[in-house]
């Protein structure tokens, strides 16, 4: 095998290994969450009203602890995460959700990374493919002088 072919084979093998590994890894699921984990999951999406910008799950404040207890009570009473979230929204307003639901105007922040990425890829391709007409030739005198000047700048320490 030539060096190039060998490299390709090696790469392909490596990718195959990774893919296989990923497939094996994704076989397991985590449907069996403990009550604590479920409280944590719902709490992580709610904003602690008292300490700004922390979630109910993370916040060390007393009210957050009491809200976690409330969530636990409601889960034990059989309510769904959606219902529990609605409970808090009814009382505190949409502000209590740490992540704006992607509806209406709230689609804007969600759209930015996707649109941005697409626009970025387009921009990247445009830059990388641009071919300006550039005649190869002698360095003109003004360019020569300019190079001198810039090299002089380069000589400066730092």
């Amino acid at each position: 095998m030539s060096g190039r072919t060998r490299s390709i084979v090696v790469l392909a093998a490596a990718i195959a290994v990774v893919a296989l590994a990923a497939l094996i890894a994704s076989g397991g699921s985590d449907d069996n969450q403990t009550l604590d984990e479920r409280v944590h999951e719902i709490g992580a999406g709610l904003r602690c009203p008292v300490c700004l910008n922390l979630s109910v799950a993370d916040s060390p404040s007393k009210l957050a602890g009491e809200m976690r207890t409330e969530i636990e009570k409601q889960l034990l009473a059989g309510r769904t995460p959606e219902q529990i979230r609605a409970f808090f929204i009814d009382r505190y307003g949409g502000w209590i959700l740490l992540s704006p639901p992607p509806r209406g105007w709230n689609l804007v922040p969600w759209a930015v990374p996707i649109v941005g990425l697409l626009a970025g890829v387009v921009l990247w391709l445009a830059f990388v493919r641009r071919r300006a007409p550039r005649t190869a030739g002698e360095v003109t005198e003004s360019e020569h002088l300019r190079i001198e000047h810039e090299l002089a700048d380069l000589e400066e320490p730092g």
């Binding site: 009203p49 008292v50 009210l63 009491e66 809200m67 307003g93």
Partner: protein, 204 residues
């Protein structure tokens, strides 16, 4: 020093690139305008944030049925049950001994309580994130005399969407929430809202 070099260079470049000064300078200004427009919009957008209080939140509960509660009394024995007070105007005030504005509003609450008591208006204080001792000490110090309740687990505070103290709710005789305010209440606000709720009760 090397000023001479750059200037001639630039002059040459200029003459090479800009044969027709007018067209290009107009194009220049158009580019500038195109670039600046979205930036001005951005600045205007940020300007909308000025003059707003970032901590102020509207209440979801105005017009909704007031969440009922049955809480242990702090200042006496027994329980305080909101259901028993249906048909009356109720002022529910969430407070705490460690809260400075709660001290400031105490006089306003006392005055409103004194004025509207005979007309069946009830002022209730619900303790928020506080200990019995501290709460009663506050009461002893400031000498209010309306009923006080303890809120174990803050379930009632959560039910009312309280995120700090003081918060005061005015409940109409039909048991819906007529008004809410955050921060220290004023006597004027209290009288306005209580009168309004009383009128609504009479009409209905």
């Amino acid at each position: 020093m090397s000023a001479g070099v750059d200037e001639t260079d630039e002059a040459q470049a200029d003459s090479a690139v800009e044969p027709d000064g007018n067209v290009l300078s107009r194009r220049r200004w158009r580019t500038v305008a195109l670039v600046l427009a979205p930036l001005v919009l951005f600045a205007l957008l940020l300007a909308t944030g000025l003059g707003r209080d970032p901590r102020e939140l509207p209440s979801e509960l105005i017009g909704q049925p007031a969440p009922t509660f049955s809480l242990p009394r702090l200042d006496a024995g027994g329980t305080l049950d909101l259901g028993e007070l249906r048909g009356q105007v109720v002022v529910v005030n969430f407070w705490a001994s460690w809260c400075v504005p709660c001290r400031e509003e105490h006089d306003a609450l006392a005055a409103a309580w004194g004025r509207y008591r005979e007309r069946g208006v009830v002022v209730l204080g619900v303790s928020f994130e506080d200990t019995r001792e501290a709460a009663l000490g506050f009461r002893d110090e400031l000498k209010g005399d309306w009923p006080l309740a303890d809120d174990p687990g803050s379930r009632t505070a959560i039910a009312y969407g309280v995120f700090g103290v003081p918060e005061t709710f005015v409940i109409a005789p039909d048991a819906t929430i007529a008004a809410k305010t955050t921060g220290a209440v004023t006597y004027e606000w209290l009288t306005d809202e209580i009168e309004g709720a009383l009128r609504a009760g009479n009409v209905a």
